[in-house]
Amino acid sequence: MAKTILICANVYPPNFIGGAELIAHYQARLLKQRGYNVIVFAGDSAEGSARYSVRQDYYDGLPVFRVCLHPQDYSADFVNFSHPVIDAHFNTLLDAFSPDVVHMHNIIGLSAGIIHAAKRKRVKTVLTLHDHWGFCYKNTLIKKNNEICQDYSRCAECLPFITDGAGRNIPIRMRRDFLMLQLSDVDTFISPSLYLAGAYVRAGIPIERVKVIWYGIDVAKYSSIVKKQRSGKVRFTFIGRFGLHKGINVILDALDLIQFRDRVEVNLVGTGELTSYLQQRVEKSGMPVRFWGMVDNSRIEEVFRETDVLILPSIWPENQPVTITEAMASRTPVIASAIGGIPELVTNEYNGYLFSPGCAEELAEKMSEFVIRPERIERFGENGFQTIKDNSFEHQVNKICSIYG
């Protein structure tokens, strides 16, 4: 009999889509194609319903049970990790579908109590790690002074208290204590990068329970993208949230410094809290920047068609950025910060360049390399493809299925 897999995520398409949500969905879809019974339990950021009410719909043929979450539930300074009402909904699903495996992704905002709920019913629990939510309330590890946190027990230095629905001030250490208790009920952690696996082990997760499995990528889709011919300028592209943690401002700083400004174009794809700031700065300085706005992932090929080099200037230790794997699959070289799991993908002077996080001078220098030596665009792009080509979704799901048993 086919196994039943219950996939859990705090957001699920077609709602806000980031890399983690895409990965969760593609994995669920492929499992279904392979004959598994797949059910999704997800947070729902759509407005207009009663908080924590549940509705069911279908997305891409998958039944999705969506719990209505309010903005506060996604807020980092709120007790957004324990919701007994959501645990109760989850228990109802467990009883109704008797899953063989509960596979969780990001569950902050939903409820970490679902881990123990599954464990109590002796269901195998698998959790894919996407960022640092298990031990950092901000997910990013970025401290107030933009340094990266090294001591995960000192959350109070950033935020001494969080609040809950009853208006209580809860010491922040209780967040970590609770999450570590819940995480002790996870049978297998999947980490896409060695970096993130190591971070969770440092936080207290036993190394024996962690498997490193790279994110899959639709290699066929991205490798078939035909680039539009360059018109003498090298087209650099950033894709992602316009937030400080993504270091997007560093791109404009680099544009201020670059020698060959008339030979570059920059595409900024996305939106976020820095949008107005970036637009004003570009307008004022006349930088060669095009704002694309939000581009749905189903249309992301259009962006890569007009991209020669992807730039990811993050100042937070990212896990395994999906934009990088997409770029590699589309034979696009990458310039990225040497931080977190990025150096596991990007090899300096092989499939791109690495630079020190936040360093505009270095970024300008690496951008210039592609302007001076444009033949490297194709060569590094091909090397990137060789790096990622065997890492299809099928490959990823094969490995995940071996964990399900």
Binding site: S82, P84, G113, H116, A117, R120, S153, A156, P160, F161, A166, G167, R168, N169, I170, P171, R173, M174, D177, F178, M180, L181, S184, D187, G204, P206, E208, R209
Partner: protein, 140 residues
């Protein structure tokens, strides 16, 4: 399946966390120079997790009877602020826990209960015995 390192679970109950308790938690972590305790609100955990608790800490002047009953029934000792008179009376009558005046005393009490297993067990047993006694009395 390999076991995670055992952590002592300290269940906290109350409608707010008094500053003295928050301070004691912080001091405790600094002073112990180790990270083998987990402080968790009572309503965040299921009964089977609660049952594993080392102690129940009332963190304000409220009267969380449900959490207290559960603790006493399951042999879990109490730690109570001295100005929480109703809870203190339970603690005194049953001999099932300790009470404290301020953050330093709370921290010291925590350390004492965590390092004196025999005392901790005895206090828990006293709570269970007291509940049994009450139950017998109410049956009569």
């Amino acid at each position: 399946m390999d076991e995670l390192p055992r952590h002592r679970l300290i269940i906290c109950a109350g409608i707010r966390v008094q500053p003295a308790c928050a301070q004691a938690m912080e001091d405790f972590q600094e002073n112990q120079r180790r990270d083998d305790c987990r402080f968790i609100m009572s309503e965040w955990v299921d009964d089977d997790q609660y049952n594993e608790a080392t102690l129940l800490w009332i963190v304000d002047d409220s009267e969380p009877w449900e959490a207290v009953h559960f603790a006493m029934r399951n042999g879990i000792p109490l730690l109570i602020p001295e100005d929480n008179e109703p809870m203190k009376q339970v603690c005194v009558n049953a001999g099932c826990g300790m009470f404290y005046r301020d953050a330093p005393e709370a921290r010291t009490s925590l350390e004492f209960l965590l390092t004196n297993e025999a005392v901790r067990r005895q206090l828990g047993a006293n709570g269970q015995a007291y509940l049994r006694q009450l139950s017998r009395a109410s049956v009569r």
